[in-house]
């Protein structure tokens, strides 16, 4: 909540920046904006709190915490399968350029592949990954 107020206050400072008069102390001006935004946030929370119920454990399906990781395990298995379909060069190119966000020149120096072959490898890997993405089961 405090972070929200800070964000809101910063936005408001920006919106009403024309009301600050150069030469006057800035602290009371900002303090008034922050106070007002805090009051707004407290009111909003009160309003929402009267109508809605928060249940932090509502997302948990099973009592055993490991049981809730099924989806996570599923995703990592799929990813592993998809990555398994790539050649070594393609996997290296994707890893360096897309995941570690190196520039093509840096990746070329690091891996020994030429820039041209990096580009080709990335292109082919992306294509392969796209097609190997499992179809969404119908809802």
């Amino acid at each position: 909540m405090a972070e929200d107020v800070v964000q809101d206050a910063l936005l408001t400072v920006h919106r009403v920046r024309h009301t600050y008069q150069p030469g006057r102390p800035v602290a009371p001006w900002i303090a008034a904006i922050v106070t007002r935004r805090s009051i707004d946030a407290a009111r909003k929370r009160g309003r929402i709190g009267r109508q809605e119920v928060f249940n932090e454990v509502a997302d948990e399906t099973f009592a055993d915490p490991r049981a809730n990781k099924l989806l996570e395990a599923d995703a990592s298995r799929t990813l592993a399968q998809m990555a398994g379909g790539l050649s070594r060069g393609q996997r290296e190119a994707i890893e360096l350029v897309k995941l570690k966000e190196m520039s093509l020149a840096e990746a070329s120096e690091f891996s020994g592949q030429s820039i041209a072959s990096l580009k080709v490898n990335i292109h082919r890997a992306m294509k392969k990954l796209r097609f190997s993405l499992p179809k969404e089961p119908p809802e």
Binding site: T12, R15, V16, R17, H18, T19, Y20, Q21, P22, P28, W29, I30, A31, A32, I33, R36, R37
Partner: protein, 218 residues
């Protein structure tokens, strides 16, 4: 100079930014708005007003009239100035109370005038009849000057619009009653005073209700 990426982005974003034009001092902005309203009102009074009626009505009671009129004018002016001041974040909230003493003085003097009139003339003037014109006059005058004032007040995008709206409403309503003085062919009775008050409350209420929509708060 080796600029970091963030410095570079900031410099790029700031390169075509136009400087912020700060609002002028609230008192000055208030005086400009009051001057505009005053000019329009003065024109209307000169063209359509009934100044001799005003003189006859208060013959022998000029001091009371002057004080009463001054009190309602001060209420209007101070409420408008206060609305402009509190629309700026961080200004003293005491401004909200500024028009109240003059408002009280006005009601007191107006009440005295009514009582005086009642004693002199007996129970005449207890009918509502004519007063409905006053209500209409105050509402109409406020409907003309209100949007102008709200437009000027909205420039500040007040972060807390309600006090600004209420003060603006009081300022407009009090100014309207002041202007009404020059169109009032008969002395103020208690019914009149009550009708004026109701009209003021209606105007303040309406402006208070539309505060968020009209003042475009930040």
């Amino acid at each position: 100079m080796t600029a970091s990426p963030i410095d570079k982005i900031i410099n790029e974003l700031a390169s075509d930014v136009r400087p912020v034009r700060p609002l002028r001092a609230p008192a000055l902005r208030a005086l400009l708005a009051i001057a505009a309203i005053g000019l329009a009102a003065a024109f209307a009074i000169v063209v359509l007003g009934d100044v001799s009626g005003l003189r006859n009505r208060y013959a022998g009671r000029e001091a009371l009239l002057a004080l009463e009129t001054l009190a309602m004018l001060s209420t209007g002016v101070l409420a408008i100035v206060a609305a402009f001041v509190v629309s700026i974040p961080g200004r003293s909230k005491r401004w909200i109370a500024a028009p109240i003493p003059f408002f009280a003085l006005w009601l007191l003097l107006s009440g005295l005038g009514c009582y005086d009139d009642l004693v002199r003339r007996g129970g005449v003037g207890w009918e509502l009849g004519e007063s409905i014109h006053c209500l209409r006059f105050i509402a109409a005058t406020s409907a003309v000057f209100g949007p102008l004032l709200i437009w000027r007040l909205a420039r500040a995008k007040p972060i807390n619009p309600l006090p600004v709206a209420l003060l603006g409403g009081l300022g407009i309503a009090a100014t309207s009653v002041f202007v009404l003085q020059f169109f009032h062919p008969f002395a103020v009775t208690f019914i009149d005073l009550a009708v004026h008050l109701v009209a003021i409350m209606i105007v303040v209420g309406v402006v208070g209700l539309v505060n968020r929509g009209a003042l475009a708060p930040a």
